[in-house]
Symmetry: C2
Subunit: 337 residues, 2 copies
């Protein structure tokens, strides 16, 4: 590693002058500053990032906690965050909570100890207590939540209108003639699985279709296997079902695999709508009608909000939290009539 | 933020004693060390990570550069790296090169300036010059390459035997009776697309099937769309083709979509083998016979090698670079007879 001393010796000037020149202090002449910078570059000098952090009290690093990495939607979000952060000179530390509250809590602590400049988080399904997040605010560290958020935590948020999107998905099933519509819902905790369920229920009510709780299946892991399992159960329980609105694409893809196995004609006998628009949904057979959830855009927007808050805090501006709601589209494919 | 001074005042002892106690110096009595630690914990004291970095010359952070995040194989690798790093107290900064050499070079520089403790990289397809990687070694920063490596760079590596895996895939097509076997190959630069091509060629030679270069298609972006495009071209060019070995699953999935569109019977008229075993490959119709490439294991192993090198360098041990070759399996599904 090249040191300030070596640059000073090379030029026959003092270490202090070199140090000041590199920080662009005006009490060093322009000519000297230029010379020092050129020599530093020639010798491939790299400033000690640790010392710079200590002086500026910034790490130019942010933390990101997401439930799962091998996941089309979340990996799109990560890509959006990283691409935007890089543009602004920030690096991103990614952690995966595995849907575990305990791990998420530990990871928040890790990031605070690391003194990241801000934190982005999408909550684990297991998270029902939010003290670890209020601690972030207490440490004056900017926080932005996205996708799986907690309403009670005071911070900026980027979401979609899950209730409205689910309403539209269910309404579409009604409009194409479905009378008995089942719903595969997510676990009880994350807000988005509650909201998607409420959107489903609201659409039924608005079109005078009686709500039947036996048509709603509560899923836990939201996996391909669960999709297969509950598809089988649904057919056993309800011979008359003609439509299913499924909380997420991966589960819907599992359900379609099971319906295909059992020789059930999609969409003739059964219409299916998913949620998220995983790439996979466009290539399976039949392809899946689904709600397009803009992961890449969500990641970009979440970073932008965080960046603004970091800058505003440095300028001692008053912080006002924003809630950004991104638009969704219903993508029509072959799993519905 | 709680300071050492506040802890000192709380206990009526000097700041130096508090500082030494927290670093577990033996010249502070055991009793005092315990008392200081308890008080620090009670006051929710967090050491200044920047000062700790400066003192220990460690960031406990590593850098990871991969070509693409929204990608089943690479996201599995990231998951393997992050899970293993977290166990050892390391955080991971992830950057995406977008298959661009220029971006990759810039990112290596970013990570070196950041003073990460080590770097993990899978090369961009565009990378044909390796000066930026030899610079990592010159800066005494441990480097491990995985999947898309450069043979000439001196560092530890984790790969699969691409040539052997491709040989077995092609051999399987021959054994089930294929006589005219096409190959969709990757770009000219990354070693693994060369090796997969060589494995294909070697299998043909060993089974006395004449090599026909017009049956080999050179792909660029390795995308779903390219798969469709070259599937169409293949059928136009060669009416007699009965097998295709395709460099990666995403392309194979695109090709299957096109063959399905054109009403070509798979596997009766055409047998297809992919490479990587994306989750998607098991749910499309027909499901894809493919080489299983262990991404999660590769990520874990790559971090383990990096970790060992970090530790060995700290102890001034001699560093010997390792090359780890992970096993692959051919997964038989419905796209082959």
């Amino acid at each position: 590693m090249v040191t300030l001393k070596q640059i000073a010796e090379e030029l026959g000037i003092s270490i202090t002058t070199v140090s000041k020149a590199l920080k662009d202090y005006p009490d060093v002449s322009k000519k000297t500053r230029k010379l020092v910078r050129e020599t530093a570059s020639l010798l491939n000098y790299k400033p000690n990032a640790f010392a710079v952090n200590l002086r500026t009290k910034e790490s130019k690093t942010i933390g990101l906690i997401i439930p799962e990495i091998v996941h089309h939607f979340f990996s799109s979000v990560i890509k959006g965050i990283i691409s935007q952060a890089e543009k602004k000179g920030y690096l991103v530390i990614t952690l995966q909570s595995n849907e575990s509250y305990e791990l998420e809590k530990k990871q928040i602590d890790l990031l605070l100890n690391k003194r990241v400049d801000g934190i982005l988080i999408s909550l684990a399904n297991g998270t029902g207590d939010f003290k670890h997040l209020t601690e972030v605010a207490e440490n004056d560290v900017p926080l932005v939540m996205f996708d799986k958020i907690a309403k009670v935590v005071k911070c900026s948020k980027v979401i979609i209108d899950d209730r409205k999107a689910a309403y539209k998905a269910t309404e579409y099933l009604i409009k194409i003639g479905c009378k008995r519509i089942a719903h595969f819902r997510g676990p009880l905790l994350p807000q988005n699985s509650i909201d998607r369920f409420l959107g489903y229920k609201e659409a039924l009510a608005n079109y005078n279709i009686a709500y039947d709780s036996s048509l709603v299946y509560l899923l836990d892991k939201m996996s391909f296997e669960e999709g297969k399992f509950f598809a089988k159960k649904l057919i056993e329980d309800h011979k008359d079902v003609d439509g299913v609105f499924i909380n997420t694409d991966l589960v819907a893809i599992g359900a379609i695999a099971e319906f295909n196995n059992q020789g059930i004609q999609i969409p003739e006998a059964l219409n299916i709508v998913g949620f998220s628009n995983w790439f996979m949904s466009s290539v399976i057979s039949p392809s899946l009608t689904t709600v397009d959830q803009p992961g890449f855009e969500m990641g970009k927007k979440a970073f932008k909000l965080l960046y603004k808050e970091i800058k505003d805090r440095k300028k001692n501006k008053t912080i006002t939290f924003k809630k950004v709601v991104l638009d969704t589209d219903l993508i029509l494919r072959d799993s519905t009539k």
